[in-house]
C-alpha cells in the first residue's frame, strides 16, 4: 500500500470535469484507489462519489493505492492533482 498527502490547488476543486478525468484515469489501474478526506474514504474510480465528497480548493486529502500497479497509480494521481488538473 502506498499513499501521499495533497492540498488541492485548482480553483474549482473536484468539480465535474476534474472528478471525471481523475476517476477515468484511476479506473485504468488494477489496484484500488481511495481518497481519504474529512474522515471519509471515497472510491476514487467513481466520479459521482468524488463529487459527492465536496472536495474544494484548499482541501487536505490523502490518496491511497493498494494492489497491483499501486506505484504507477499514485504517480498518475500526483501528476494530475499537482498540475491542478491543467486548469
Amino acid at each position: 500500500m502506498v499513499q501521499k498527502h495533497f492540498t488541492v490547488k485548482n480553483a474549482q476543486g473536484f468539480h465535474m470535469r476534474p472528478a471525471t478525468n481523475f476517476a477515468t484515469a484511476m479506473a485504468a489501474h488494477p489496484c484500488s484507489v481511495i481518497i481519504r478526506f474529512n474522515g471519509k474514504e471515497v472510491n476514487a474510480k467513481s466520479p459521482m462519489l468524488i463529487m459527492a465528497a465536496c472536495i474544494k480548493v484548499g482541501s487536505e486529502i490523502d490518496v491511497v493505492c493498494d494492489g497491483e500497479g499501486e506505484n504507477e497509480a499514485l504517480a498518475a494521481a500526483s501528476a494530475m492533482i499537482e498540475s491542478g488538473f491543467g486548469e
Binding site: 480553483a11 466520479p47 463529487m51 459527492a52 480548493v57
Partner: protein
C-alpha cells in the same frame, strides 16, 4: 405579463411547444431471474451511452465544444462504477432494474441538491437527466422530439436538460421558458451559448401556458407575454430586430484588444462582488478585474470571516482569472452598508462618519486578517490591493505600513506571496481628488470611484429626491475633480482607472480618453459595448470634445453638447 428570471438576452416571438415529461411510471416488482435482469440493465446502459454520444455530437455543432463536453461528462456518470455496481447489487438482491436504478440515482440527487456550491447543485440536474433517460429506455417510452419542432417554436419545459438542448435547432427555436433554474443554472448557460432568449423560474409555467399558444419571450427583462395584441407584437418585433443588429455589431469586438481609433491601447476590466463572478468576467471578455468589492464576504453572517475563508475566495477569483489583473478593494463598510456584528453605532451622518479605511485602521485585527488573506492569495495571480475612502496621506501610509509588516511575517514563515504587490487607492472623496498630486507620489495607482466622488463633490445624497437633480458625473465641478485626478496620476507616472458607473457612460468616455485615463472598469455585460465605444475615438478628437465640454458652465450644457457628438 408573467415575470420570471431574465437568463438569456433577446426577444423571441413564436408558438409554445410544451415538452411534457414522459410519464416514467412502473410497478416495482421482483425480478424472477436476477441475472437476466442485470443483463437487461446493462443493455439499457449501453443504449443510453450510444444516444448520449449522438446528442453530444449534435450539441458540438449547435452550442459549441464546451456544451458537448458537459454532455460527454454524462457518459462518465452513466458509466460510474459506484452507480452501476450498486444498482446491480440491488438487482441481484431481488429488485427490478427500474427500481434499483431509481433508488441509486435518487440518493446521488439528494446529496448533490443539498450542497452549498451552486455548481455542484447543478449536478443533481445531470443525474435526474440520466435517470429519466435510462428509465425511458427500460420502459420503452417514446418522447416528443425537439429536433422536429417547426420554425418559430418557443420551448416550454420544467427544466432545460442537456439532452433536450441537444435536439434544439437554432433556426427553429426562438425562445425558451422553464419553471426552474436561475441565472447561473445549466439551462441559462446553455440558452446563452445558443443565443436563444430565455426566461427561467416562471412559476407553474407548464400549467398556465398552453401548447400552441402565441407568446413573446423577453429574455432581457425576464417577461413572458402570452396572446399578445397586434400592437404589442409589432412593438416587440421592432425591439427584437434592433437587439439582433446591435448584438451582431458588438460581437465583432469579442476577443479584441481595447483600442482607440488611433490605435492607443486601454485596459477594459470589470467590477465584481463575489469570487464566482470572476467566471462572468471571462464569459463577457473582460481583461481582468478593476474592482473586487469584498463586502459580500462580511455580510449576511454573524461573525467576521476567517483568514482561511477570505483567502479561499480571493485565491479562487485569482485562479479563475488566469493571471489577468485583480484589484481587491479592502473592506468598505459603514455608510449605507450596515453589518450588525461589527458593532457600528448609529451615526447622525454615516457618509461622513466612521467607515471604510477609517474603520479598518481602528480595527487592526480585522484589517490584518483581510490583508494577510489578500497577500497569501497574491501568490496565485496578479493581485493588487486598493484602499477605499482615502482623504489624507496618513491613511495610505498607515495602511501600507501594515502591508509591509505582514509581508515580513509571511516571509519569515516561508508562506508564498507577491513581494512586489501594488498598493493603490480609490479616489472617491473631494479631499483625495484635490490632494491627488501628493497622493500620487505614494500610491501605486488610482481608481476613481465616480459614485461617491459625485456625491461628496456636489454634497448631495442621490437618494434624496429633493436634491438628486444635482447628482451627475457630468457636473462641471465633478469633471474638474476627475480631470485633476487623472492629470496628477499621469504626471507622477502611475496608472489611473475608473470603477464607477461613469466609466461605461458613452458621453464621458471621450473626456476620460482626453484626460489620460488608462483603465476602464465596468460591469461584465457592458464590456463589448464600452470596447466599441472607445474604438470610435482618437486622442485628438477626444481632446477637441473635452476642450469644448470643459469650457461649458452648466451640467445641462455639458450633457447636451456630449449628446450631440457621441
Amino acid at each position: 405579463m408573467i415575470k420570471g428570471t431574465a437568463a438569456s438576452d433577446g426577444i423571441g416571438i413564436g408558438r409554445i411547444l410544451l415538452l411534457e415529461e414522459a410519464t416514467l411510471e412502473y410497478t416495482p416488482h421482483t425480478a424472477e431471474d436476477p441475472k437476466a435482469e442485470v443483463e437487461r440493465f446493462r443493455r439499457a446502459v449501453d443504449q443510453l451511452i450510444e444516444e448520449t454520444k449522438r446528442d453530444a455530437a449534435a450539441l458540438r455543432s449547435t452550442a459549441g465544444e464546451k456544451e458537448a463536453l458537459i454532455m460527454e461528462g454524462h457518459i462518465s456518470l452513466i458509466n460510474d462504477p459506484a452507480l452501476k455496481g450498486e444498482t446491480e447489487n440491488l438487482i441481484l438482491s431481488g429488485q427490478c432494474a427500474e427500481a434499483a436504478y431509481e433508488t441509486m440515482c435518487d440518493m446521488f440527487i439528494g446529496i448533490f441538491s443539498s450542497m452549498e456550491d451552486e455548481m455542484m447543485r447543478q449536478r443533481a440536474a445531470d443525474v435526474r437527466d440520466i435517470k429519466a433517460g435510462l428509465l425511458r429506455i427500460l420502459l420503452g417510452v417514446k418522447v416528443v422530439k425537439v429536433s422536429d419542432a417547426p420554425k418559430g417554436t418557443v420551448l416550454l419545459t420544467r427544466e432545460l436538460t442537456p439532452s433536450v438542448t441537444a435536439g434544439i435547432k437554432k433556426g427553429n427555436i426562438v425562445g425558451i421558458i422553464t419553471e426552474t433554474g436561475g441565472k447561473t443554472s445549466h439551462s441559462a448557460i446553455l440558452a446563452r451559448a445558443l443565443e436563444i432568449p430565455a426566461v427561467l423560474s416562471v412559476p407553474d409555467a407548464t400549467s398556465i401556458l398552453k401548447n400552441g399558444q402565441p407568446v413573446i419571450v423577453d429574455g432581457t427583462k425576464g417577461a413572458v407575454i402570452p396572446d399578445p395584441s397586434f400592437d404589442v407584437l409589432n412593438e416587440y418585433a421592432e425591439k427584437r430586430d434592433k437587439f439582433l443588429r446591435e448584438r451582431a455589431e458588438l460581437e465583432k469586438f469579442r476577443g479584441l484588444k481595447t483600442l482607440g481609433a488611433d490605435g492607443a491601447e486601454y485596459e477594459l476590466v470589470c467590477n465584481i462582488g463575489k469570487a464566482d463572478d470572476a467566471a462572468k468576467v471571462m464569459e463577457f471578455d473582460g481583461e481582468g478585474v478593476g474592482l473586487f468589492r469584498t463586502e459580500f464576504l462580511f455580510m449576511d453572517r454573524s461573525a467576521v470571516p476567517t483568514e482561511e475563508e477570505q483567502f479561499t475566495a480571493y485565491q479562487k477569483a485569482a485562479l479563475v482569472l488566469k493571471g489577468k489583473p485583480l484589484i481587491i478593494r479592502t473592506l468598505d463598510i459603514g455608510g449605507d452598508k450596515e453589518i450588525p456584528y461589527m458593532g457600528l453605532e448609529k451615526e447622525e451622518n454615516p457618509f461622513m462618519g466612521f467607515r471604510a479605511i477609517r474603520y479598518c485602521l481602528k480595527n487592526r485585527e480585522l484589517f490584518r486578517t483581510q490583508l494577510r488573506a489578500i497577500l497569501r492569495a497574491s501568490a496565485y495571480g496578479d493581485i493588487k490591493i486598493m484602499f477605499p475612502l482615502i482623504t489624507c496621506i496618513e491613511e495610505l501610509r498607515e495602511g501600507k505600513a501594515m502591508v509591509e509588516e505582514i509581508k515580513r511575517e509571511l516571509a519569515l514563515l516561508g508562506i508564498p506571496f507577491n513581494k512586489n504587490i501594488e498598493v493603490g487607492i480609490m479616489v472617491e472623496t473631494a479631499a483625495a481628488a484635490v490632494l491627488a498630486d501628493v497622493l500620487a507620489k505614494e500610491a501605486a495607482f488610482f481608481s476613481i470611484g465616480t459614485n461617491d466622488l459625485t456625491g461628496y463633490t456636489m454634497s448631495c445624497d442621490r437618494g434624496n429626491s429633493n436634491v438628486a437633480y444635482l447628482y451627475s458625473a457630468l457636473q462641471p465641478a465633478v469633471l474638474r475633480m476627475i480631470e485633476r485626478t487623472i492629470k496628477c496620476g499621469r504626471e507622477a507616472g502611475i496608472p489611473v482607472g475608473m470603477c464607477g458607473e461613469a466609466a461605461a457612460n458613452k458621453k464621458l468616455i471621450p473626456l476620460l480618453i482626453s484626460f489620460g485615463l488608462t483603465e476602464f472598469s465596468v460591469s461584465a455585460p457592458s464590456v463589448l459595448r464600452v470596447r466599441k465605444c472607445i474604438s470610435k475615438w482618437t486622442k485628438a478628437e477626444a481632446d477637441r470634445v473635452a476642450a469644448k465640454a470643459m469650457s461649458l458652465a452648466t451640467e445641462k450644457e455639458v450633457s447636451d453638447y456630449l449628446e450631440s457628438v457621441c
